[in-house]
């Protein structure tokens, strides 16, 4: 009996356990909050003023050294870029080691070392700590600036600038700095090909000598070390570093715009608009508002759960991500709200940005929202402590920005103290959508839709460096008309003004053969063009002895033959061919119903040219440019459609290297770009009146 009951009892208990399904609707409550113990790094100062912080962390057998400078930024002017280059030059050789030796020695022990204008970072396994520290000190104390290395760096920097010209983020970052800070502020200077070209070795050396000084430097040592073992090493390698007075540079505080402005940078072919809503902010790191503004920004746009993200991505699907930043800085901080959105929702996305920027200042955030973000901020704070570098950074920042000694030790408490009213107050003070720059880098097709966001309803256009974008086309001077341009062209090309004398000259020419060498996609081909009065035409493309393509018009019928098969040219194509086969059509354009319209003057390859639109009798148009000085045609552009092509393509032809043959100027160089392809042609011979037989045109 007894046995059984126990059996039954245990059975019911088991079934009970199974039947009692877990209530998953209950969100688990947190366990008691963990204590965070912020260890204080050990510090010591060398007689030359170098302040050292040591953070012991024995988790991994590694050690990292990070030397950072505490100096004011300098204005670099027309050599902008030289300070960064100085930073990169540091690791390119010392008086004791060539660049190759440095690289070899660092790589050999599996270490890393990187230098910048703000300092030097190196790390290695603990067993190599003395070696890497010695190399680090060699770089800092004995860097040897060589012209050859500067030249290499300049070349690379310039290539880098070239490659980022197409990067909408890089463009936005450049233009944003100019618009926020102005070009006369160190944060608003932009590195361009020209400024890098101007950099001198002298300027780099000078920067190094002036600013790389122990009395303005901090050295953080983090990892598997003790003060006892590392202090003698640091003294050994850094005692010889000489201290010196370092200049202090002051700058005017940039002002936010008086009212909101829309700035637009056109990017050809962009499928997305890069949006930045931005302005400068006066917020130093030591300002007691800083912790509160961090909470404010994390509610607004600091993460993938903040309001901007939830609205623009999760609710509307406009973007992959929308964020905001409110940065504190000793010189000048900034606010920036940003997203990349597809072209057709650019205006809708801006509307939502504005809704959120206004809402955060107009309405109080909820207590829940605030608590969530406070938890998040505390969590992130704990997370960053995983990296022992954080402890070193805290200690250096406390010193550098003159923060209260217990600033980071009490950081979690400061977060906990932020109230709903604090957030509103901070938003009113720092989130100012009515005094902002709305910068959009994108396709100008959509720009008009953004006018309403500008207080003056007027969009300002900028180039990729934040200069005012100037419409290149200028009006033509008084007295110049389409007709005078064409007359000048005809006279320049044929050596005789339009009239009887010209007719007579042209009549004497019975046929023309133009032979050209060309290359397309790396392949060499030959192109020969034949013309015979009055309107016979042939064009042959050959590669070696093989005819790739030939097109002929015998005055009545047209053919195309070659690798893609033979075909008669008919219909509109035949009409076009018939029309364009007329010899000296440009000299007789009025007789054939061609009209021109003069649009203005714009530079082509640095020289002014008249921009004209040609209209043929069938209504087709082509844009042509005629050099103002020489009168000759330098460029043409037309959009061509063909049943075989998925979409119309633009054909651009550039003509240059005009040379006289039999009293007529022929362009000896032609560059034709159609779609992604470029055809470069060079004339090797122009033959006149060689008695071309009619068979050439059959």
């Amino acid at each position: 009996m007894k046995k059984l009951s126990i059996y039954i009892l245990s059975l019911t208990m088991i079934t009970g356990a199974f039947a009692q399904k877990l209530d998953r609707s209950k969100v688990p409550a947190p366990a008691p909050a963990p204590k965070i113990n912020l260890s204080q790094p050990a510090t010591f100062t060398l007689p030359n003023g170098l302040k050292v912080f040591v953070v012991e962390n024995h988790k991994l057998p590694k050690v990292a050294f990070s030397l950072s400078l505490d100096v004011d930024p300098v204005l670099e002017g027309d050599m902008k870029g030289y300070v960064d280059i100085t930073g990169q030059l540091l690791e390119r050789g010392t008086t004791n080691r060539t660049k190759q030796q440095l690289d070899e020695e660092i790589d050999f022990i599996g270490a890393t070392l990187s230098t910048s204008a703000n300092g030097v970072y190196a790390s290695s396994l603990k067993k190599h700590q003395a070696k890497i520290l010695e190399i680090l000190s060699d770089v800092v104390l004995n860097s040897d600036f060589k012209q050859e290395e500067l030249d290499k760096l300049k070349k690379q920097t310039i290539s880098g600038i070239a490659s980022s010209k197409d990067d909408p983020d890089a463009i936005a970052a450049n233009v944003r700095s100019v618009l926020i800070y102005g070009k006369k502020h160190p944060y608003g200077e932009i590195t361009t090909e020209e400024t890098v070209e101007n950099v001198t070795l002298e300027a780099c050396k000078n920067y190094y000598k002036t600013y790389f000084r122990p009395n303005v430097s901090y050295l953080a040592v983090v990892g598997d070390v003790s003060v006892k073992e590392i202090q003698p090493l640091i003294e050994k390698y850094f005692a010889a570093w000489e201290k010196a007075d370092v200049p202090v540079n002051k700058y005017k505080m940039p002002a936010a715009p008086k009212q909101t402005e829309v700035a637009f940078v056109h990017k050809e072919g962009a499928s997305q608009s890069v949006i930045n809503i931005t302005y400068p902010v006066n917020l130093k790191k030591s300002n007691p508002d800083v912790v509160k503004t961090r909470i404010l920004n994390s509610i607004l746009g600091g993460s993938a759960t903040a309001r901007l993200f939830m609205n623009l991505r999760e609710k509307h699907g406009y973007t992959y991500g929308a964020y905001s930043t409110l940065s504190a800085d000793e010189l000048v901080g900034y606010f920036n709200a940003n997203a990349k959105v597809r072209n057709d929702v650019t205006d809708s996305a801006l509307t939502q940005f504005m809704v959120e920027l206004n809402r955060i200042a107009d309405e109080k955030v909820t207590a829940d929202e605030l608590q969530g973000m406070k938890n998040y901020a505390s969590g992130i704070f704990a997370y960053t402590l995983q990296d022992p570098q954080t402890i070193a950074r805290f200690a250096i920042e406390t010193e550098k920005y003159k923060l209260p000694a217990d600033y980071y030790a009490t950081y979690m408490e400061q977060i906990a103290a932020v109230t709903v009213d604090d957030v509103k107050e901070m938003a009113e003070k720092y989130i100012t959508p009515n005094n902002a720059i709305i910068l959009v880098v994108g396709n100008k097709k959509i720009a008009d839709k953004l006018t309403e966001f500008d207080a003056d309803q007027k969009i300002s256009y900028y180039d990729i460096y934040g200069n005012d974008y100037v419409e290149a086309l200028k009006p033509a001077p008084e007295g110049v008309t389409a007709e005078t341009v064409m007359n000048k062209y005809i006279e320049a090309k044929y050596g005789v003004a339009k009239g009887k004398a010209l007719d007579k000259k042209l009549k004497k020419i019975k046929d023309i053969t133009v032979r050209m060498d060309a290359s397309i996609q790396g392949q060499s081909i030959n192109v020969t063009r034949y013309q015979k009065a009055p309107n016979k035409f042939a064009n042959a493309i050959t590669m070696g002895t093989m005819v790739i393509q030939k097109q002929t018009f015998n005055g009545t019928t047209g053919k195309s033959s070659g690798m893609q098969g033979n075909e008669d040219i008919t219909g509109d194509d035949l009409e076009d061919l018939k029309f364009s086969s007329v010899m000296f059509l440009d000299a007789k354009y009025t007789d054939h119903g061609i009209t021109y319209e003069l649009l203005g003057v714009e530079p082509i390859n640095g020289e002014d040219a008249y921009k004209m639109v040609q209209t043929k009798p069938n209504g087709e148009t082509e844009t042509e440019w005629f050099n103002v000085a020489s009168g000759l045609k330098v460029k043409s552009m037309s959009v061509q459609e063909n049943d075989k092509m998925p979409e119309p393509i633009t054909v651009v032809t550039e003509l240059s290297d005009y040379k006289e043959v039999n009293g007529i100027m022929f362009a000896h160089k032609t560059k034709q770009v159609f779609g992604p392809q470029t055809l470069d042609m060079t004339v090797t011979a122009v033959e006149i009146n060689t008695k071309l037989g009619d068979e050439v045109f059959e």
């Binding site: 877990l22 197409d166 779609g675």
Partner: protein, 439 residues
């Protein structure tokens, strides 16, 4: 003289072994009845905990007419669950002091939360929600479709050279599903019906296809109780899990093409067919890439970037994959350098490793670098959790986190020369030239 050198190298090697031993990562591993693999690593140095789940599904497991599914799920599974409201998933983590993210590769999808250590139970509950009954409905699919489209524009269309992997793998593979990349096809996502998404979820998001890996500050006994509580009653998957068995036929002819893109500087990219990760040759291939491009003294850096100044950037990247994949090289030409010139210069460096044995010293440098890299790999708890899961899923041995270094150390100088000749052949590669699109 020679003797001394050899003995120094020997000493270093011995020392290396000893060192790796000293920093052994301890972990516990077990399997629930429903097939869920669990790995636990305790590290109390910071009061945080990383909760991660690896689902062994990536783009290679997709229907060729439904590419992009695996990556799409990485988005969809943040939409919510039966007990987590729409859009609340991320908020719940962040408002409890955590961060989260996920990523998708050819071979697997990985989710993680890093939470304050007192929120471990929350993390487990949330991952169980995702595994048991995630919300898969029209609204969520619609929202995430738009988001993925934007990701596509941002990462592939608008970023210079952003389409590189797509263009490369698309040409390199004709049979194997590596021919499409995880972002997949937007068109396929548009065509897919809600039932297809639900079916994918039921097939792949099951405990027997998942590994729960936890690292950080927690109590092991307590963690096991919670894991049991939240995960043990999730039913095992009933649908058949089929993995691709297609073997890409051996290549006999170089594939060469030109891509016109919104770039300013021409670039050359090469992809050589190389063996699956974890195979002895894969380690040699990886080390070969390292000789070519890790550190300023590496061959491509030194010769092409610094001395010849032909490239703004050049690098060799092994691209480890579960099935045989590609080892990649990528060079951006300096201004005014013809792309063919750069290609020839890279080829010359490859020829050198094919023809000459690397020196003892260079070989030692490489080993030192590997030792350092292996240490750094485990600097963070989330990295440890992910590495443990990867080692378990790909090789069935999580302890490789401690021992994989031995596999590298087994590779000889002769192996390097051999694999250079075996795999880095011109007829075994795809070469792409990226040229600026004319405007």
């Amino acid at each position: 003289m020679k003797k001394i050198l050899i003995s120094t190298a020997l000493c270093l090697a011995v020392f290396t072994g000893a060192n790796a031993q000293a920093n052994k990562i301890k972990f516990e591993q077990f399997k629930l009845d429903n097939g869920l693999n669990v790995i636990l690593h305790q590290d109390k140095s910071t009061p945080i905990v990383a909760v991660t789940v690896l689902y062994h599904v990536g783009s290679k497991n997709e229907d060729p007419n439904r590419t992009g599914f695996a990556h799409f799920f990485e988005h969809l599974l943040f939409e919510g669950s039966e007990n987590i409201g729409r859009g609340e998933y991320m908020k719940m983590v962040s408002s409890n002091g955590g961060i989260l993210n996920a990523n998708t590769s050819f071979d697997r999808t990985f989710y993680f939360e890093i939470l304050p250590s007192n929120q471990l139970e929350l993390g487990l509950w949330m991952e169980a929600e995702r595994m048991l009954h995630a919300k898969i409905d029209e609204t969520g699919v619609e929202t995430q479709r738009e988001v993925v489209k934007e990701e596509y524009r941002q990462s592939f269309e608008n970023r210079p050279y952003g389409s590189f992997l797509m263009e490369m793998f698309g040409r390199a593979f004709e049979e194997h599903p590596y021919q499409w990349v995880p972002i997949g096809s937007l068109e396929h996502l548009n065509q897919a019906k809600i039932e297809e998404f639900r079916d994918f979820y039921k097939t792949w998001y099951v405990p027997n296809n998942a590994t729960l890996s936890i690292a950080g500050d927690f109590d092991i006994k307590q963690a096991k109780q919670w894991i049991n509580k939240y995960f043990s009653e999730i039913p095992k998957g009933t649908k058949k899990i089929e993995r691709p068995t297609i073997v890409e036929p051996e290549k006999k002819k170089e594939i060469r093409d030109t891509v016109y893109d919104n770039v300013q500087l021409p670039a050359v990219m090469m992809g050589y067919h190389t063996p699956a990760q974890g195979t002895p040759d894969a380690y040699a291939v990886e080390m070969l890439a390292q000789i070519l491009s890790q550190g300023n003294s590496s061959r491509l850096q030194k010769s092409i970037v610094d001395e010849q100044q032909k490239a703004l950037f050049v690098g060799a990247f092994p691209f480890p994959t579960e099935d045989p994949g590609l080892s990649l090289m990528f060079g951006i030409a300096n201004m005014g350098v013809a792309i063919n010139d750069l290609e020839v210069a890279i080829d010359k460096e490859v020829e050198k490793v094919q023809n000459e044995l690397i020196s003892e010293e260079e070989f030692q440098k490489m080993k030192n670098q590997i030792e350092s890299d292996m240490v750094s790999k485990n600097a963070k708890v989330e990295g440890i959790a992910e590495n443990l899961a990867n080692y378990h899923v790909y090789y069935g041995d999580a302890n490789l986190i401690n021992t994989e270094i031995d596999r590298y150390m087994k590779v000889t100088r002769e192996d390097l020369k051999r694999v250079a000749n075996k795999y880095f052949r011109k007829d075994n590669r795809v070469v792409l030239h990226y040229l600026p699109k004319e405007k």
